[in-house]
Symmetry: D2
């Protein structure tokens, strides 16, 4: 099962033009270089569309997640990608309940259990602190809080609505001590990523900032470095009397 | 754009255990052998899950369809596979509105238009003659009539409910002279496939009969041969004075 | 079964604040006065939310439609309102497939058949000429073309995109000679309603223009009068040699 | 706000033939007689379809719930019944996330918050102990655990799968001390209802047992009496040294 070293950066490729075919592989390669440099001290994950899952999994060393998995068993389901198919394609896990692909609660429950039994990691998204808390009761590996109104705006939740992040940490920790908490929505710069860690989460979920970047490697690298600095500061301040 | 030689046999892999990984490739290889033998005189299409689309497209000569495509443009859609991603993965077309993945009418309209602009073939499913007629107005390449209550039963619509097939042909032809009409639901044997052609359609859509077969090559071959015989008979009888 | 005298004006109450309780009844009463004045020469229909259906049906003489019906049979369905419940509540028909409540094609098929068997009128909405044509094959009583991007904008489709209206009439009439065609989306003024009739449709589907009006009676009356004038002109010009 | 005296019996009318029109009122009247006899010592709630909400609320003294509410604000939503419309129709609350009308987690969150602000009671259903626990974090008034595979079978979860009930109580109480826990699915007899209370829940959610009963009053009365006996026993045994 994939180790989750803090800080964590998940790049959701969505269905951008850069998310398919040779461009997807190029973005993946760029991110892989950062991954190789920070292996063991940070976790970088790429999440391409289903159709690119196997190619990226087999071509890259950076861990690959699916952006979704369908809450069904293997069998007579047309058009569906069950978690088993995600695993078969070489992925280490999948995102569930992204605001652009919301799920019913029973479906999230099914997917979290199925991920566990297949030894896949699962990252569940939520829009608000209360939902993040509810989801954390199902014991996914990671939960990401993403106010949908900020997604894709370039206005980072960690800077524009820091209270959403801190409230989420408090709400989630009331019910689950272990789940990894990520910050999403509008994360664009290294400073946004740093703020996410400073506010008490373990990393960020990004999309357009990398997928629309002319220099995805540089973008990812600066975010990882900023988050590492923030973690160091946090630990230093804790160590002080 | 893929040529559609009559008779047509579409194998929907669904999400069966045999539909992913090396087993999917093995089934694909078996079907490819029949394809190579009947190239130019029949059309065989395989429809694996999204995650196997590129592998099968690049490894096999038999045409590949996706089982579905999401009715969205390229862009900020998480977990979605737009038609462009289907094409990029090497597929020649996709199925839409299968009874296990029903779509809204506006979504079918979007997908048919998008397929046309991308030069992808699109096969739209419908449950009843009236729906098949409605769908044919949107001018997809193919329409398949599949009474959902027979899907997966082994009771072929062409034998148990032949009137559904003939009614569909009449209903569709009232509105669209060119669309290719296929028969689906319960098609299991060569006789079922033959009946489908005899009743006036251009071929069949099958799933479990092949995906659960110990000898998928033999199953597919016998269906294609039976349909070719039925076409010959039909033409002979037409040719007579 | 409700007679459909041309011109037709359908007021979709949606779930506006004015759509529930005593305000809904007040709007209904205002519209009823116009109905009484034009009885036999125009058809005015009000479509309140499910919860107001019975009250308005039993208190008003103006015909009442539901805004939707669930495509299920009577039975073990929680939260559903089958067409039978709509009829039981006193309504004369229902709207289906509104852009704010889109349905799958098989569901539209079910609802049109069920409406016929219950002797309820059914008005099916569509976003584009092609979809309207497809829907008309199912033979509903009325079809309304509403480009969703104009709904609620105050920009009337009949004035901003008249070609959508005329294209729809052509597309629908290719497949169905009898279905009543309405124009919707952005209809705000008497001129908008008049244009809808001038372009060849039988009336309009409106919502905010009436529900947010300070004088709903006046708004409705002016639209009906304008449509009657347009019909008269049309007939005069036809009568001329 | 409606007082919730233990034991609680919620009768979900679903969309049965007996759930609409005069039959709905007759069933409501029968249940009202039991309500009047046990007022202050038990809570009985009837949940008719949207179209019968106002009639039953205004004609009966027994509290009325909607079977669902749409997770939208008042405004431009066609076919929707927002919580405000439910309240306006005279209901004391609503059911959410029934297995026949599942909701996304964010929608449940919206509805729970909205119910609180409108002073409506909300009963959220869940299929499994883990989901019930997750839902209880959102702090609804009541949560009902209903394994969908038993709904409508006549096999009471409290007798066939008592561990689902006890596991649910344990799981929910880990996260929420106050939420009222109900048992649902297959509850048919007084013994089933008694078992539900004995296993630690506050009452039951029933449907077909009452709606298909020739003597709904008798059915409801016997269930309430059995639950009252079970509560008494529980309290006696607690009181003993």
């Amino acid at each position: 099962m994939l180790d989750l070293w803090e800080p964590i950066l998940v790049v959701n490729f969505k269905a951008y033009e850069t998310a398919i075919g040779s461009r997807a592989l190029a973005v993946g390669k760029a991110i892989e270089r950062v991954h190789l440099d920070f292996r063991g001290s940070a976790t970088i994950i790429v999440a391409p569309p289903f159709t690119e899952l196997r190619t990226l999994s087999s071509s890259l060393e950076v861990p690959v997640f699916a952006q979704h998995a369908d809450p069904v068993e293997l069998g007579a389901s047309t058009g569906a990608v069950p978690p088993e198919a995600v695993k078969e394609a070489g992925a280490s896990g999948f995102i569930a309940n992204h605001s652009e692909r919301r799920l019913r609660l029973d479906e999230i429950g099914f997917l979290v259990e199925k991920a566990r039994s297949l030894r896949l990691r699962v990252l569940v998204c939520a829009a608000k602190p209360g939902e993040a808390a509810a989801v954390s009761v199902l014991e996914p590996d990671m939960v990401a809080v993403e106010p949908p109104e900020l997604i894709g705006t370039g206005l980072a939740v960690s800077r524009v609505k820091p209270e959403v992040v801190t409230d989420s940490v408090v709400a989630v920790r009331r019910y689950n001590r272990n789940v990894v908490i990520l910050t999403g929505a509008g994360i664009t710069t290294a400073e946004d990523a740093e703020a996410a860690v400073r506010l008490g989460t373990s990393g960020v979920l990004v999309a357009s900032a990398v997928m629309k970047s002319r220099e995805p490697e540089k973008t990812v690298r600066s975010m990882v470095e900023a988050m590492l600095r923030a973690i160091e500061k946090r630990e230093t301040s804790r160590a002080q009397p």
